[in-house]
Subunit: 167 residues, 2 copies
DNA sequence: ACGGTGTAGATGACGTGTCAACCATCCGGC
DNA sequence: GCCGGATGGTTGACACGTCATCTACACCGT
């Protein structure tokens, strides 16, 4: 690590801006969503991913992977959503261990009612504020960063180089 | 709201990329930080903001505002950090209600030990992956978004226009 | 068929965040 | 001076997320 390479002015501004935006955007979108649709962001994400799946059904693990959630987290969250009647669990016919998460009619109603307002909020607070170049840049570099991070699970900082085994 | 204006392909890609990056970056930075310095990201942020303040001391509310945290959250978190000896609370001399948060020697040691590694991680996983244009774009639009959101606290979606009273 | 190993999920304990009271103090008007 | 409302901070109850653990089943080699 030797002499640390601090962030220069431009980098620091961008980094602070990112974190601040991240926080404020979250708060705002969560507020809007809760007020307009009675859903939390995690609720929305679950319902949204489910609604995009054929028949509104997905294996729990598959859903967890898509969302980048731990199975445990998803399991807990599903229990709460199940109580509210938004989803149900079914046993998996092809794998005795598995469960299948299924969107209920009420869940579908909820996501369909919430979506237009949520998309509008995303536009209002973020997307519509970007010019085409910025939008393109956002697309490019987020995917670049994601590929790096998703590629080598830990990509340790320890030794100088190269991927390392996952933990 | 009428016919909802959905996100087109480019917008959708950028938005999904953003959320995915956000999640993975968080996980990775948190992991690195915990492993290398035994701090959570919230810990780091508190210490970092404190260490930038004169004498390492700030009014609780002032700190909460800078961090965009609720006073309640900060108060809880400080109690935990105080237990670990990273900060202490002092009574405020100019306002009988207030408390002043003070960085301890150990707290200063912790943040100084953590900083180089954390900055390196931020570079490795994000900053160094952006070309100058992208960095500039990130700086620009994040601040634009922040200004909007910070400006009109709620900036309601309800009526067509204009700021509304805070909740 | 059987035993060992790995994987899918569930669960409980615990740390953290939020929300709604709550108390103490400050401040502006009378 | 004092009263009413605002402000600074704390607290407790509850929602949520994580981690370690546990059970049940799958898969593979023999």
């Amino acid at each position: 690590m030797d002499v640390p390479r601090w962030l220069d002015d431009r980098e620091d501004r961008a980094w602070r801006g990112y974190r601040r935006m991240r926080r404020l955007l979250d708060l705002q979108l969560a507020r809007d969503l809760m007020r307009d649709a009675g859903l939390s962001e995690p609720d929305y994400d679950v319902l949204s991913d489910l609604s995009e799946a054929p028949d509104g059904r997905l294996r729990l693990g598959e859903l967890a992977d898509r969302m980048l959630w731990s199975r445990s987290r998803l399991s807990h969250h599903l229990s709460r959503m199940q109580q509210r009647g938004l989803v149900v669990r079914e046993e998996c016919t092809t794998d005795g261990r598995g469960s299948v998460v299924v969107l209920t009619a009420e869940g579908r109603r909820a996501i369909e009612a919430a979506a237009p307002g949520h998309v509008a909020a995303v536009r209002r607070h973020l997307i519509d504020l970007l010019d085409p170049d910025e939008l393109a840049a956002l697309d490019r570099f987020t995917h670049r960063v994601v590929d790096r991070l998703a590629g080598a699970g830990d990509a340790g900082r320890a030794s100088g180089r190269g991927p390392e085994p996952l933990t």
